[in-house]
């Protein structure tokens, strides 16, 4: 009998299988470390100490986590409607422009808490604008959204390059970046959060956008599982034909979903642009949009899972940076390998272990 249709209890589907996939991904990453001639266990230990050992390390870890929560949510919202948004990277990049324009316009006149809501809206609007054209092409012209969002990553990259090199650059400076925002355009650091646990934030850029990210997790959960729109999105994701029979308008849902997805990706920019560097820099997204794919897959497209997966990748990013100091033969790009392995095993090969587990489960329960 085929094992595909055998139902498994939730703890296996959402707990055991992702965990085993993760272990496989780390096993193969460990093989790479071993092949280089270093001890995988020592590397893992250094990585964990670097990410979680001190208050500053935790601050950096949570800083990365913040970015990944936004991009993970962005990918997840689209997946619920059956759309694969590979464009989070570009949407976040353009979102940075939105946030920066608001900060540049307001930082002289008002304190940060007045600027912040406008910056959130600005970042989300620009991110959504970047997703709007691929969404429209998918909804009305039937162009494959994966291809168009990839194309838009490159288009946005060229556009931002032009904006920063030609228009937003500080006259007389070489670096393609805007001027530094005044405190009215910056998000405050969360030193009190780390201090609550007796640590010290130090130079870590953990900032207020972490809390915005957590609020967005809750809002996405409400949207997907507690609203009519979310129900329509999920219906479309499971079966477009059933959705069409039920009177759900395909193009409307595709547009709305992608605008929300792009908006969430755009908000990611708040964290590095207004929280950390206080200026818009070239290539500031640095692959966080693609990490969002891994985070969403690992977290099974659920906000709670996404927080955990984002934390995992935050630990990897911060720990990986520390690891490359302690073990010079391992570069920081080891995390890119691990990331690839996680996407491979948790995403593309997610069903690989299922038949084995189904057989073991059947034997165990005697069915």
């Amino acid at each position: 009998m085929s094992t595909v249709s055998v139902p498994l209890p939730a703890w296996i589907n959402y707990g055991l299988i992702p965990l085993l996939n993760l272990i496989l991904a780390f096993f193969f990453s460990g093989l790479v470390v071993w092949a280089i001639g270093e001890s995988p266990f020592e590397a893992l230990q250094l990585l964990l100490i670097g990410a979680l050992g001190r208050g500053e390390g935790i601050g950096f870890t949570l800083f990365y986590t913040t970015s990944f929560i936004f991009t993970g949510l962005s990918v997840a919202v689209a997946i619920h409607a059956g759309l694969f948004n590979i464009g989070s990277e570009g949407q976040a990049y353009l979102g940075g422009l939105g946030a920066a324009l608001v900060a540049l316009a307001m930082d002289r006149y008002v304190p940060w808490y007045v600027t912040m809501p406008f910056a959130v809206i600005g970042a989300a609007l620009f991110g959504a604008a970047c997703a709007a054209i691929p969404a429209w092409l998918q909804a009305k012209r039937g162009s494959h959204i994966v291809i168009t969002t990839i194309m838009f990553n490159f288009i946005v990259s060229s556009l931002m390059n032009y904006m920063l090199v030609r228009l937003l650059i500080v006259p007389g400076k070489m670096a393609p970046e805007t001027r530094t925002f005044l405190p009215g355009g910056q998000l405050p650091k969360l030193d009190w959060l780390i201090a609550m646990f007796g640590g010290k934030l130090g130079a870590a850029p953990l900032n207020f956008s972490f809390l915005i990210a957590l609020i967005m997790c809750f809002l996405v959960w409400v949207l997907i599982w507690r609203t009519k729109l979310g129900y329509e999105m999920r219906t479309l994701g499971i079966s477009p034909t059933a959705a069409s029979y039920a009177g759900i308008r395909y193009s409307k849902i595709v547009m709305i979903t992608m605008l929300i997805s792009g908006g969430l990706a755009g908000m990611m920019a708040l964290n590095p642009v207004m929280g950390a560097s206080a200026r818009l820099q070239i290539e500031f997204v640095g692959g966080a949009g693609f990490v969002g794919i891994a985070v969403s897959l690992m977290g099974r497209n659920h906000p709670a899972g996404i927080i955990l997966a984002a934390l995992l990748f935050g630990i990897l990013y911060q720990g990986g940076a520390e690891l490359s100091f302690d073990m010079p033969s391992i570069t920081r790009d080891m995390i890119v390998v691990i990331q690839g392995m996680v996407i491979l095993f948790a995403g593309a090969l997610e069903y690989m272990l299922r038949p084995v587990i189904v057989r073991a489960y059947q034997q165990f329960t005697g069915k």
Binding site: S2, V32, I36, G37, F84, I86, I133, P134, L137, R141, G142, S143, H144, V146, I147, T148, I150, M151, F152, F154, I155, S158, L159, N161, Y162, R166, F290, I293, L297, S329, I330, T331, D333, M334, I335, V336, V337, I338, Q339, G340, M341, I343, L344, G347, A348, L349, E350, Y351, M352
Partner: protein, 323 residues
Amino acid sequence: MDYFDIFVSILGSAIRLSIPLLFTALAGLFSERAGIFDIGLEGKMLASAFAAACVAYWTGNAWLGLLGGIGISIVFSLMHGFASITNRGNQIVSGVALNFVAAGLTIVLGQAWFRQGGRTGQVPPEGRFSSIILPGADMMRDVPIIGPLYANVISGNNILTYIAFLMVPISWWVLYRTRFGLRLRAVGENPGAVDTAGISVAWMRYRALIVAGFLCGFAGTYLSIAQSAAFINNMSAGKGYIALAALIFAKWKPVPVMLACLLFGFLDAFANFMQGKSLPLIGEVPVQIFQALPYILTCVLLAGFIGTARPPKAGGVPYTKER
């Protein structure tokens, strides 16, 4: 320098820039016509560039380098196949994963083996594909119009360039005039029908991916040991995605693929040429426009404003045999 000389020099560099695109887009042609989306072209190109540079550096033999590049590229193709054919995983996710693995592994292994910040060692001249001067190129140089074209555009390229253009008619012939090609296209349009005819869909798709890996190996090799003399960090720099765009722009057909790659190569060469120069009447045109143009054109095409691009029908759908 008059306008014709400038044109010839841009054309020559356009050809050199379009070769990796051509190999990669042809690779994508085989896998996508068989119904397997191949976002992982970029990663395959990068991995094979690295492997070719390593092998050529160690052995000092360009052909062994090419073999190494092709080998790794096929291994990546098979991983893609294992995930998306055997395990029926999502083809796009698998491609994205392989791109990451390639991007990370090349730097990590490069740093561990060569300690030059992700570069491989400088490949010796005999480990590279050097330019071939075709017979009579120097003699022809003084003939007006045809002379410079022959000497600077057609002659003076390396062997891989000529192989690339040779691959276009070969691909066309394989896809449209052989039994293998017919079945490959059928498997991308209606795998059920192919299965009914008693042909294994999975094996057919695996073979298409192996061909894709083979062609992608040339692209990577070209980057690292024909166009330059070492592997450099993230050397493919998005060329795999431009090739994917060219493939779509060409509506999944071999000869248009060549033309699309030449067009995108020309845009690239023209952008390099225009850097810091200004046009009469218009003034200085931002280079970024030329960089974005291939992607914009592809989106416009996909929107159905220039004809229609109809992808293979079964593309991206894992095949499940009925029981």
